[in-house]
Symmetry: C2
Subunit: 207 residues, 2 copies
DNA sequence: ATGACCATGTGAAGAGTGTCACAAGCAGGG
DNA sequence: CCCTGCTTGTGACACTCTTCACATGGTCAT
């Protein structure tokens, strides 16, 4: 069963919203209430969920405690993913030390950098290694996901090295288009473009 | 003239690609070559550009040196945007000190944090101030864009304080849905969801 | 047990986006 | 001057995604 990208994105949001509700002690919720609470569309929620079967109860809504494991399973978040970070600058460190990324299914198990000043530093539970040993570090740590927080000119090479070392997917923060290798999906995240997009929607004034 | 979100995103990519070509000394380029070089769609490039007028020359292609200022103007990147960062953790520092964000149209002019250990630190060209003074800091620095790199529970409050202090748009990294105020557009960037989306597309194996 | 109520699940309509193929048009050489 | 070759700009098509409205089918009170 395949999920379209926009649906996938929303399912992640639903899961997070449901977890928030669970923390607040909410047992069951209707699509209407869920939509109001998190600024979503009620019909969309129902359609997205119904795509995988009937999880709700008519007249009542959805059981929070049942829906969370179901969504977690659908999104394949019911297992651990080991992550290796390439480039331990501020952004790389944000990934390695932010509790939001290191809690739950994703665990940053290793990090490398080419800057001698950073090599040897202890960041989270690991010591930063030399980029030169990226392949060994990746294999030893058993990382399945690579995060590229390196300058644009080094992104392609590091992607390929990660792929060869057995990584199954790469999240790229470098502002460049990477040629992908079949079997090693890539997701681009371009922080500068987000700023540029936001700038376009700023209320226009002639200052 | 309004631009749809996907088109806007691509225009930013085109602009970046063209700048790369300009650095390489390329004078003119066809949509075909541009598409090959940066893994885009030739027809899409032409359609996106033609939406704003005829910039190309039939039989030749597009003049790099002419197209760059045109795109820059369309995207409203021909001016400076002052940015204030709320939350000077690793992610906030990445924004403030990364040359990719501080070069070009975006300049981080101020940053605040609630952690006493961080207040007073010099990050880029500015000193981190107490979050308590967010409004004053924003007004004094004349910031037009706010970046939220705070925990989820503080995001809504800080968005509203930024809005009241005169910020014209907010880029939110907190994993929560913010209720927007008319006239102050918000763009959400959720790093955890990017990991989750990537995880879904990982080649499946039964390890 | 029965009826009123309520929320889901879903087919159909509508909007938006991407792809394709081709006519229009410019450059350069003969 | 004319013809060939190349690339743009564009209208039509196909596809995806979203929204809407309603029938289906449970729950709860009486």
């Amino acid at each position: 069963m395949s999920i379209s990208p926009p649906t996938l994105n929303r399912l992640c949001l639903y899961l997070r919203s449901l977890k928030r509700l669970q923390e607040d002690g909410v047992q069951q919720i209707s699509s209407q209430k869920l939509a109001e609470r998190f600024h979503l569309s009620a019909a969309q929620i129902r359609k997205d969920l119904a795509h995988f079967g009937a999880f709700g109860v008519r007249g009542v809504g959805y059981q929070v405690d049942e829906l969370i494991p179901t969504l977690t399973s659908i999104l394949r978040l019911d297992r651990r993913y080991r992550v290796v970070v390439v480039g331990m600058g501020n952004l790389g460190r944000a990934f390695a030390s932010h509790p939001g990324f290191n809690r739950g299914p994703f665990v940053v198990v290793a990090g490398v950098d080419s800057d001698p000043a950073k090599i040897g530093e202890t960041v989270n539970d690991f010591v930063v290694r030399d980029s030169q040993f990226l392949e060994e570090v990746t294999r030893e740590s058993g990382a399945e996901i690579g995060v590229l927080t390196v300058p644009a000119h080094g992104a392609q090479e590091n992607y390929e090295r990660l792929a060869k070392a057995g990584v199954k997917g790469v999240l790229n923060f470098a502002p460049t288009r990477i040629r992908t290798i079949p079997g090693v999906p890539l997701k681009d995240v371009d922080l500068r473009i987000y700023l540029e997009e936001l700038a376009y929607y700023l209320p226009f004034d002639d200052s």
